[in-house]
Symmetry: C2
Subunit: 169 residues, 2 copies
């Protein structure tokens, strides 16, 4: 108990966006993945949030991931995001997009790095590992995300999240 | 079962090196830590290896960690290290030191990143998280290392290690 699975990257292909919509993909020569990949599994876990999603990730520039987060926010899931300030204004950062949508975002204001890459889903699942939420990390880098359900572990990461949330107010 | 503990960084202080030696520290105004820190716990886990230590970490520049790895190698523990080539020749990288000591080191030769930060101790413990093995990560960055003993999880990371070990031959 406590360990759900591990997702390893790189994926060979990015998941097909049409395939995630009702009706699926009908492009004749679609080059994207139509069977599960590490990213599609990752998106499924994120998308399973029904109440809360606490995100504490160094960089977020992956639009497939951001779209799921924005959709959860629209559905009424309470999303909170902690990210690193050094990364927030790099090209493609989705932090501004989150803020504009009304999602609560806080940032490490120091010169040190808020280097975590974890998320807590409904206080029930922890995603954690080496994986920054970027496009490059999906199809190029060697990365891992462990999916864990151990209550003691989740409690310690929740405490860490709450501590940083206060610290970066 | 399966989850041993989580180490969160930053530590306030680096652990006192004298304190790790027999007899302890006798410096009158020693500024280093003499009680357990996340790094000292981390070093204790690494140092508990008796047979094998498989390391797959993006950057290694922390001499406290390197000293433990070199000592294990001297004691006859079979150490294998996978690291990223982009980082191996940056200032302070300990990769050359490991090679000179006779430790087997392999590197990602691609422009993508081997971005993992995990180690498997005696096939019995997995250390994994956001923590690169650098000095900055210890006393400045917000980082985590989970210490896990779940056999299925360790098997999947061992398979990943073995796959990369072959790939980077
Ligand atoms: Zn398609
Ligand atoms: Zn001392």
């Amino acid at each position: 108990g406590g360990v759900v699975e591990t997702l390893f990257f790189p994926d060979e292909k990015l998941p097909c966006r049409n395939n995630r919509k009702p009706g699926g993909c009908h492009r004749p020569h679609c080059d994207y993945a139509h069977t599960p990949t590490s990213l599609s599994r990752f998106l499924d876990y994120l998308g399973s949030a029904t109440r809360t999603l606490d995100i504490c990730v160094f960089t977020i520039t992956n639009d497939d991931i951001s779209d799921v987060v924005l959709e959860l926010h629209k559905r009424g899931v309470r999303v909170r995001i902690i990210s690193d300030n050094d990364q927030a204004h790099t090209q493609g950062s989705d932090i501004d997009k989150f803020r504009q949508a009304g999602i609560a975002v806080r940032q490490d204001k120091t010169s040190a790095h808020m280097h975590h890459k974890f998320a807590i889903i409904d206080g029930r699942l922890l995603l954690n590992g080496s994986f920054n939420w970027t496009r490059q990390a999906v199809t190029a880098n060697n990365e891992n995300v462990t999916v864990l359900s151990d209550p003691t572990l989740i409690r310690s990461f929740q405490q860490q999240f709450d501590k940083l949330w206060e610290m970066f107010k």
